[in-house]
Symmetry: C2
Subunit: 496 residues, 2 copies
């Protein structure tokens, strides 16, 4: 039996190596590649993707999994080996349900859609994007037909990013969030943040970001930080973590962008050695992964204790802040101001942008709205949710890349990440009663180590809900801690 | 028949994509990768290498080649399609002769050997490296047994880097070169080059290098230049060329290092679109490729006309050169000074370092010297060839990385490149009678375009000797132009 498991591991290591190699090509494409390398790079990525898919979905993997069923049953559920067999089987069965020709049509439609979207957004011309969006949506409808679902055809799409999560559950969570967030945004006071726009030289931002990063628990020689247009994090092993960020010379957003990506990076860095080169060497879901980027960006990076330590160094780095008090700075970075653009949204209004997209995605897949009505519905809901008027589709329905490439079902993971981050944060606070005092003297390792040992190290062994249960005692996705946290934040903004 | 050719092309494109992807991982490893990524990267590269090898050496490729024999015979020899079938068959038959298990033993021995060499060189301890070198040499002897040869068991090793070249031919060329070069080095006058050591800020070196590079014919958006410890050039398509160089703050060697790599880069950049994603998308051999790096580094980059244009900008960039006359500068960069280290050798003495290694490699493979005698023989020949005393093995037999990783047969390509560069340069001069005048005003495109159209564009369609014949009318590797060029150089050093 151990021989069979070893054969499975060899195959999975090969698939992982090819996927990680594709990851290197993707990082290079976004960080280093000369622009004219695009065409050849697309070929190389398509070939690696096809090889990884073929090797993984092979009949042989199914035979090995079948032979390993008795071993799996004899082992504890959360053991490395039982988890490997269980998660591999789930992934394999899901991947096998989709015919190659459908997969290829989706890939081609996504490439065309992305291309059309770039132009459409630039021109704020939804009509020119419509046929490509239609093709992508129709292919997604074909895709969900490969699966069974009980509540909504949207569930198989959601399951690609949040394994085991159903549309109904997310809908219930968002039904609580939506009115509460709209109310919070409406009642948030105006806060002076003019000093956050000024002269902040990118080199100094970079030096500050690297200084903060060196305290988070990322080991020396196991990561790097590069500038890019659209920040992301990727990793090629738990000891080769690539963070990216964006420096704008007139604001300090790179700080939170870097902390956000560092959260993803700490996750990848913390996954056990034993799970490397297997399907378990990742996070349980995008939402759980995002809960950690949000933890480091917001729960840590916008907290007063964190800045009690770091505000002095920040003021030394940027003389423009010399006369700004710590309290004023902390209020400014926690302000709530409804806006048009998701990626520029503050912490309080952010999830409202997501809920709007989640609703529209379901309606598109369930066929209850017509595609050509999207801009109108978008604009109406932006007014309803956030009280803002959308001037044009470039600042509205065309603003995000996701739908253009067929990424439907992805958006809700952002808001779920926010919700989950606070559920886990309650557990963290109980485990680390001195956390605020530690943050206030720049000691981030107790937090980082706890999260690594209790969450990151376990990789993808458990589903998102099993992960939440292991830490909180319940599988429920509970929005209450998140709403309480935001209410505290908003109510605190008025105090001087 | 065209359907069969298309099937072959699809397979070869896949193999090329995987190999190019491995190239991206290799570039990243040397330019960007955090040091702790090493172990996972080795796994990823081994997996990609195995997949490319398996897909290429597959029986199916042989069947397709067999079916394509009639098509090949019906087409002109140098046509794209006939060349594709011919070169693929040659590569396939060669690759199939080596059992996988031998290949894997060689790979593992190379990794161990490299590791041992790093330590041995640091400690200048040949004895500690000896067992690893022995293992690598013995595996190479096993490797050559997979092939047939007529003159020397060294020929199959040489053929890996110089397809179609026999040991005897190289021996004859080097028999002419050796005494002539020793004589030239001995009679070269001393030249003042003290001003080439000074304060040359790396940022300024980089700016100057990029300024020169932008005039060579590398199209915008199709290349980049990065710093690295051991400069190299790689490419992932003809429109994604990666140059690297090394900046030392106290000399200007980065100029010639950059021009050298740019020669390789221009080759890769000039290969026809039609040959991309096939085995023809490279240079005919390492020697022919090296002829072009040497052309740009030396024949262009150390020529007086080139510096008539560029010396003014160089002086503006580096005030330390303000009082140095152009003539003095050109003499200094063309001086001949025998030394211990190959990679630091001047143009005149360089090939003597190579001939020494070529002789030893043959003797090792033919079994006519004992491995433990290598340091002694090395030191004696350094005295005989170059008149220098080797103080320790770190500055002698242990200085190069090649043998540690089983790279036996590679060295002669460096000297062949020098010889070939001058054979082709004669043709260039006939074709471009105004070349010196063009160089003197910074016009490098006529040269670059000619080399692209007449050499680079043809990729690997012809063998090295066929390539030389196409351009010079004869397959002979003729050292006379190279010796005449060096004699002119050395004799010119004495004139003020």
């Amino acid at each position: 039996m151990s021989g069979t498991l070893e054969l499975l591991r060899i195959r999975l290591a090969e698939v992982s190596d090819v996927s990680r190699a594709a990851g290197v090509l993707g990082w290079d494409q976004r960080v280093a590649m000369p622009p004219r390398g695009t065409e050849a790079r697309a070929d190389q990525l398509a070939t690696l993707g096809r090889i990884a898919h073929e090797r993984f979905t092979d009949d042989e993997v199914g035979r090995l999994l079948e032979q390993l069923a008795p071993l799996e049953e004899s082992l504890p559920y959360a053991s490395d080996d039982a988890s490997l067999i269980r998660v591999t089987r789930r992934d394999w069965e899901k991947a096998r349900r989709v015919p190659s020709e459908l997969r290829e049509r989706m890939t081609r439609a996504a490439a065309r859609g992305h291309h059309a979207w770039v132009e459409a957004r630039r021109a704020s011309d939804f009509a020119s994007f419509l046929p490509y969006l239609r093709e992508n949506v129709e292919l997604k409808r074909e895709y969900v037909e490969c699966f069974e679902w009980s509540d909504s055809p949207y569930t198989p799409l959601l399951d690609d990013y949040e394994p085991g999560m159903e549309t109904t559950e997310v809908r219930e969570v968002f039904a609580v969030l939506r009115p509460a967030l709209t109310d919070l945004v409406a009642r948030a006071p105006e806060v002076d943040a003019a000093f956050l726009h000024g002269d902040f030289p990118p080199d100094a931002q970079r030096a500050f970001a690297e200084r903060v990063l060196s305290t988070l628990g990322l080991e020396d020689g196991a990561w790097r930080l590069d500038p890019t247009a659209h920040p992301f994090c990727t990793s090629f092993s738990n000891r080769d973590v690539r963070l990216t960020t964006r420096y704008r010379p007139d604001d300090l957003e790179s700080i939170w962008s870097t902390l956000h990506e560092a959260g993803h990076g700490l996750y990848a860095h913390g996954i056990d050695d034993a799970l490397q080169r297997t399907p378990l060497g990742g996070a349980p879901s995008l939402g759980v992964n995002e809960s950690q980027s949000r933890t480091w960006e917001n729960l840590v990076g916008r907290s007063r204790p964190f800045w009690e330590h770091w505000y002095g160094p920040l003021q030394e780095t940027f003389p423009a802040l010399a006369d700004v008090e710590l309290d004023a700075f902390v209020r400014a970075i926690n302000r709530a101001e409804p806006g048009l653009i998701r990626v520029d949204a503050d912490e309080t209004s952010y999830s409202l942008h997501i809920i709007l997209r989640f609703e529209l995605e379901q309606e598109l897949i369930e066929g209850t709205v017509a595609l050509e009505d999207l801009p109108e519905i978008w604009n109406a809901r932006m007014q309803e949710f956030l009280g803002v008027d959308v001037p044009d589709d470039g600042h509205g329905v065309l603003q995000d890349v996701h739908w253009s490439g067929g990424g439907i079902g992805y958006f809700p993971t952002y808001a779920l990440g926010n919700v989950i981050s606070l559920q886990l944060w309650r557990v963290v606070r109980e485990a680390l009663p001195d956390l605020d005092a530690q943050l206030a003297v720049g000691e981030l390792l107790p937090l980082s180590d706890w999260l690594r040992d209790n969450l990151y190290a376990h990789g993808r062994k458990l589903t998102p809900k099993e992960t939440i249960e292991r830490l909180t005692g319940s599988q429920t996705i509970d929005p209450a801690p998140y709403l309480a946290y935001l209410a505290d934040k908003v109510d605190g903004l008025g105090t001087a």
